[in-house]
Symmetry: C2
Subunit: 311 residues, 2 copies
C-alpha cells in the first residue's frame, strides 16, 4: 500500500485574480478561492490569510506550487529568481513571490508561468495525456502559451512567450499596422486577438460579437498562422486552446479550417488528418488546468526535495 498523497497548496497567480486551493490531486481540490489582483501588498496578504486558514483547516501542506503571470524569472542562479519581472501590470514589476512563501512556510516552493502550469496539468490529467510535445495556449485578456517537451516544462533564455509570435497581418485589413495593439510589436498575436485587443479594435467586448462578426475570421486566421509556426518549430502532438476568447463554440472549428489552409498539406502525418479535431483541442480540466498544474508543480518540487535536489 502506498502512502497517502501529500497535501499541496496551489496558487494560480493571474493578472485579474489569484486562484488558491489545497489538495492532493485532481479529485481532491479543496477550498478553491479567488482573490482579486489589486496591489501586491493587498493581494499577497489575502493569499497569506487563505493559506493560514487552509493550514488550520486541513493540516500542514508539504509544498507550494505557483503558476504566475509574467514575465517571471525562472533562473535559479539569478538574484531575482521567483520574481515577476517586467510585467506592464502597474505595481507588479519586480515583485518576489517565492522567497516570501518559502520563508513563511519552510516547505519547497515551485514556481513557473501560469501557462506552463496549465500545460503540466493538462498533460497529467486533461486533454494532453501521453502527448509530448504538448502546447497549451490561452487567449483571454492577453495571450500566453506553455510548452512541455521530453516530459519537462520548457525554459531557456526565458520561458515561452507565444502571445508575441509575429504573424502576417489578417488579409482583409487595409491599414495592417494600425490594428496591432501590442505596445512592443507591430504584428503579434496578442496585439491582434487578445480580448483586450479585440475590444479596443471593435469598441465592444468580444463576448458580445455575433457569430458572423468579421472579427472571428480574422481571429481564426491570426491564430492559424501562430499555430502553424508553433507546429513547424516544436512539432507538438497536440495544441490545447483555452481562455475566454477560445470559449466561443464556433471558434475552434474556424481555427482548424484556417490552419489546414495555411499549412496547405505540408504536414503529411496520419495524426494530423484534414479535420485537425485531435490536433487542436479545448482543455480537458474544466477551467482548472492552471490550478491543478500549480498543484502538480508543488508535488514535483516536493519529490525533488525528497531526492535531495534543490527545488
Amino acid at each position: 500500500m502506498s502512502n497517502p498523497s501529500p497535501l499541496i497548496a496551489a496558487i494560480e497567480a493571474g493578472g485579474t485574480k489569484f486562484v488558491c486551493a489545497v489538495g492532493t490531486g485532481p479529485d481532491d481540490l479543496r477550498d478553491i478561492a479567488r482573490i482579486p489582483t489589486t496591489t501586491p501588498g493587498e493581494t499577497l496578504a489575502e493569499v497569506d490569510r487563505y493559506l493560514s486558514m487552509a493550514q488550520s483547516k486541513h493540516g500542514p501542506f508539504a509544498a507550494i506550487g505557483v503558476g504566475s503571470f509574467g514575465p517571471v524569472d525562472l533562473d535559479k542562479a539569478s538574484k531575482t529568481y521567483g520574481c515577476i519581472t517586467t510585467t506592464p501590470k502597474p505595481g507588479w514589476q519586480s515583485v518576489g513571490v517565492v522567497n516570501r512563501l518559502q520563508s513563511r512556510y519552510q516547505v519547497p516552493v515551485a514556481f513557473d508561468t501560469d501557462v506552463n502550469a496549465a500545460v503540466l496539468g493538462e498533460s497529467l490529467w486533461g486533454a494532453g495525456k501521453n502527448t509530448d510535445p504538448l502546447v497549451y495556449i490561452t487567449v483571454g485578456t492577453g495571450v500566453g502559451g506553455g510548452v512541455l517537451v521530453h516530459g519537462q516544462l520548457l525554459h531557456g533564455i526565458l520561458h515561452p512567450e507565444i502571445g508575441h509570435l509575429m504573424v502576417p497581418a489578417p488579409q482583409h485589413s487595409k491599414a495592417v499596422h494600425d490594428i496591432c495593439h501590442c505596445p512592443f510589436h507591430k504584428n503579434c498575436v496578442e496585439g491582434y486577438v487578445s480580448g483586450a485587443a479585440l475590444a479596443a479594435r471593435w469598441g465592444v467586448r468580444a463576448d458580445t460579437f455575433s457569430n458572423d462578426h468579421p472579427a472571428w475570421q480574422e481571429t481564426a486566421k491570426v491564430m492559424a498562422h501562430a499555430l502553424a509556426n508553433i507546429t513547424l518549430t516544436l512539432c507538438p502532438r497536440r495544441i490545447i486552446l483555452g481562455g475566454g476568447v477560445m470559449q466561443q463554440p464556433h471558434i475552434l472549428p474556424l481555427i482548424r479550417k484556417s490552419l489546414a489552409k495555411v499549412l496547405n498539406g505540408y504536414f503529411k502525418v496520419p495524426e494530423m488528418d484534414q479535420s485537425l479535431d485531435h490536433f487542436i483541442v479545448p482543455p480537458g480540466l474544466n477551467g482548472h488546468s492552471g490550478i491543478l498544474g500549480a498543484l502538480a508543480l508543488g508535488d514535483r518540487a516536493l519529490k525533488k526535495s525528497m531526492l535531495g535536489e534543490t527545488c
Copy 2:
C-alpha cells in the same frame, strides 16, 4: 585507460550532394567524399562503393549515422521509418535509406534530418557547447532548422520545419504575396530568402548581389521575424546560422540589428544584450556541422544498442 573510440561511418544526405566520411570524432574525420545527388539508384550505389572502400581501408565500422534532407519519417513504429517521404526532389519520394544500410552492414544505423544532425554536431564540438536549447538554421538552396532541447534532438508529430515559418511580408514590397516562392505557402521564410527564392526573384544568384543590394535588408527582416518567433517559442540560448546565403560577411550583423528591432526590448535577459553577438552566431565547425553530427548520431546509436535498447 578507456577503450579507443569506435569507428563510425557518417553520411550527410543533401539534396545537391551526399557527403560521406568515416572517423571517430571531430579530430579524426577520414576520407571525406562528396557524391552528387542524382537518382536514388545511382547515388546510393556510389555511397555503397564508398562504404566498401572505407571498410577495406580502415576496418569495419561499428555504426552508421545518417543526417538526411527531408521530410523524413523518424517514427520507429511506422512502416516507412527511415525513408525520405514527400520531398519535392524528383525521384526521391519514399526512398528508404535505413533498411538498405542496416541489412547490408548489420550495424546500428541512426537516422535524423540533416539539420538535426548539424545542431547535434555544433552542440558537441562547435558553436553550441553547453547551450540548451540550441537551434541550427541553414539558409542555402532551401531553408531548414534543427533543434536540441533537454539534451535531445526534437521530434514530435514530425521534425522541425523551420524553413516554412510564416512571417510578415518584408515591408517595402508592394505585391507582398507575389514574392514568396514556396509552392506550399504564401508567407514563408524559404519562399522569401532561400538561395533559390532570391535568385528567382532578382534574376541572378544571391552570391552576385552587391553589399547594398535591397535583397539583404529584406533577407535580414524576414530572418529576424523567423528568429523572433523561434525565440518566443523555444527560448533557445543560442541560434546558429549556417548555409551559403548566411556566409555573406555583412548578413549576420544586419540580422542581429533587425532582430533587436523586431523584439523591441521584450526579452530583458542578460544573455541577450543589445548586440546579440552571442545569441546569433555562425557555425563553429567550418562546414562540417552536418557530417560530424551524422557521426555523433551513429555514435549515439551504437551506445544505445550496447545498452540493449533498439536503435
